[in-house]
Each structure stands twice: as structure tokens, then as C-alpha cells.
């Protein structure tokens, strides 16, 4: 039992120590002119859904819940934000060529259709990010129309 106790204390100390490691927060006040929502006339409900479900990882501004500023959670989130933004950054939408926009829109449709995005591990805690079948249909219809208008 004593052994277990030592391990437990060590783990706790480690947990406290890592809180002091700095994290770079993905936060920005201004919504740039190149944002997806600025460039396209997105209906309010769809705009809101995308912002709640996708913008945390796919824009320059993450709405951090309290636990995500705590280590090691913050590190995991940081990784995913980086990877997510590399793939698709809604804030930089207008900087994409129309060919690239087309590819991204197609990819968004596929990801939502297959339920791969938003990630399960994310919706596990962000219950409001879950898209209902109705939400999915609406978003997919909208994105498809947008894609066709670009072609």
C-alpha cells in the first residue's frame, strides 16, 4: 500500500509541475476579411453550427473551455488545432484558390457525411458540437450549393 501511495503522490506532483509549462493559446479577437462567413452569405443557423462544431480546431480563435487550459489536456488540444488548421482554416478561406476551395468544400461534405468531423473525442465533451441528422443535411445542402456555384 505504501508503494502505491508513493506512486500516487509522484503522479500528483508531476501533474502539478506540468501546469507550469507554457502553452500557446490559439486566440485572436478580430475576424479577418478572408473568413468563410464574411465571404459567403451563410444562413445564421448554419453559421452558428459551423462555428460551434468546427471553428475550435479550424480557425485562429479557439473558444477554450476551462479544462482545456489545464495540462496535459491543453497539449492534446494544441496538437489538434495545429493539424486541423493546416488542413482547413475557415479564417483564411478567401486566400484559397477557387480550385482549392472546391477541394475543401468537397472534403467538408465527405467528412460530415461520414461523421468523421467533428471528431468523436471532441464531441464526447462538447455535446453542443454534435450535429443532428437534420443539421448535417442542412449543412451538406448548403455546402453543395456553394460548391456548385463555384464550378
Amino acid at each position: 500500500m505504501k508503494f502505491l501511495k508513493i506512486i500516487a503522490w509522484l503522479a500528483l506532483v508531476a501533474l502539478i509541475v506540468i501546469q507550469f509549462f507554457p502553452i500557446t493559446l490559439n486566440e485572436s479577437d478580430a475576424v479577418p476579411q478572408s473568413d468563410f462567413m464574411v465571404e459567403n452569405q451563410v444562413p445564421a443557423t448554419i453559421k452558428n453550427q459551423l462555428q460551434v462544431s468546427c471553428y475550435d480546431c479550424h480557425s485562429n480563435n479557439t473558444d477554450y473551455p476551462w479544462y482545456s487550459k489545464i495540462q496535459p489536456a491543453a497539449w492534446y488540444l494544441e496538437d489538434h488545432i495545429q493539424a486541423g488548421k493546416d488542413e482547413l482554416n475557415f479564417n483564411e478561406w478567401d486566400t484559397y484558390s477557387s480550385r482549392r476551395k472546391n477541394s475543401k468544400l468537397r472534403s467538408i461534405i465527405k467528412q460530415i457525411e461520414s461523421g468523421e468531423m467533428p471528431m468523436d473525442s471532441y464531441t464526447l465533451i462538447h455535446r453542443d458540437a454534435i450535429l443532428s441528422d437534420e443539421d448535417k443535411r442542412m449543412i451538406i445542402d448548403y455546402i453543395t450549393a456553394l460548391k456548385d456555384s463555384l464550378e
Binding site: A8, P72, S103
Partner: protein, 196 residues
């Protein structure tokens, strides 16, 4: 005993936090595949044709060659090989240089190459279903590229109405072998256009 319980409780809480926030493991395999053979071949081509435009053509031909190898891997349902070849293709795409084309063509080519590179990179790290989704858009990019650069090779644009609402790809042979279905529907498709 009580403290132990409490500490373990805290640890458990921490563990739950970690688990809930960690999204699925990002596939982080920065692919560094061998491409020396490619480079070698290009530099030999360079020597053959010193003229600038032929040099460009050589790069476009290298992209086409990689594209066809990738297509064959998908026809053969070979996920691993397609990953490797996706990476090879990404390298060839990156070494493409559009600077000798007219301004219009240049910007079009740069857009094409940027998009195609992204799809090739995805192919180098995904499962076969995703590889095929990306191959569809990649095929469009490569077709548009050839429309500008031209090619020495005779090409067949083939089309299968079944896959994803109708999908095209390029082949060097007239015979149809479907890269989107592989063995499950190898023969879906027909030649819809001949290039050259």
C-alpha cells in the same frame, strides 16, 4: 488509506480529462520516401533536352508517370503501395516549376499543383477508401495540368458513372481497369475521350 484514495481519485479525474480532450491520434508520419530514382531520371532528361520548355515537359511527364503508377496500385487494391506512390507523386509535383509559362497558365498551373500536392500527400497517409476519394480530385487536377502542359504520351480519359455520381480518370491504355473499385468492380467505365 484515505489519502491514497483521494489521490487516485484525482488521478482518475485527470485521466478522464486527458481522454476526453484528446482527439483521435493524428497520423503524424512525416513521409520521407526515397525519390532518388526520380531525380536521377529527371536530370538525365534534362541533359537530353536543354531547351527550357522541353525541360518543363519532362517534369510534367514525371508527374504523369507517378500518377499512372498510383492508379495501378489502386486498381490492385494495394493500400500500402498507393501510400508510397502518393508520396513519390507529391515530390514530383513539388519539383514542378511553372515559371516558363504565360502569366495566365502560370497561375492556373500553380493552383493545380498546390491542390494536387495536397491530395497526393493525403493519399500517402490514408486508408484505401480515402485514397480513392482524393484520387478523384487528383485526377481532375492532373487532367487540367495536361491540358496546359501537353504530353508526348497518348492518353485515354475514362469514366465510370457508378462511383460518387460519376468519376473520371486518366489511363495510358485503352483497356478499362477501374482504380476506384479495384477488384470489386474492375470493369466499370468506358473511354470518354482520347488525348493526343
Amino acid at each position: 488509506m484515505k489519502t491514497v484514495k483521494r489521490t487516485i481519485g484525482i488521478m482518475a479525474l485527470a485521466a478522464t480529462m486527458v481522454l476526453t480532450v484528446s482527439c483521435k491520434d493524428g497520423n503524424k508520419n512525416e513521409s520521407t520516401a526515397p525519390m532518388s530514382s526520380e531525380m536521377h531520371q529527371e536530370s538525365m532528361d534534362d541533359k537530353k533536352d536543354m531547351a527550357m520548355n522541353d525541360n518543363q515537359d519532362a517534369k510534367a511527364e514525371a508527374i504523369l508517370k507517378d500518377y499512372f503508377n498510383l492508379k495501378d496500385a489502386l486498381v490492385g487494391d494495394d493500400n500500402g503501395k498507393a501510400k508510397e506512390l502518393g508520396n513519390t507523386l507529391a515530390q514530383s509535383l513539388k519539383s514542378f516549376d511553372a515559371s516558363n509559362y504565360s502569366d495566365n497558365e502560370k497561375s492556373e498551373l500553380n493552383d493545380i499543383i498546390e491542390d494536387a500536392t495536397e491530395h497526393a500527400e493525403h493519399i500517402s497517409e490514408s486508408d484505401i477508401k480515402h485514397q480513392r476519394e482524393h484520387f478523384k480530385i487528383l485526377s481532375k487536377d492532373v487532367t487540367d495540368m495536361v491540358a496546359i502542359t501537353g504530353t508526348q504520351v497518348k492518353l485515354y480519359e475514362q469514366y465510370c458513372p457508378m462511383y460518387d455520381g460519376g468519376t473520371a480518370w486518366l489511363s495510358k491504355e485503352e483497356n478499362v481497369l477501374n482504380p476506384y473499385y479495384g477488384s470489386s468492380m474492375l470493369r466499370c467505365g468506358k473511354v470518354q475521350r482520347e488525348i493526343n
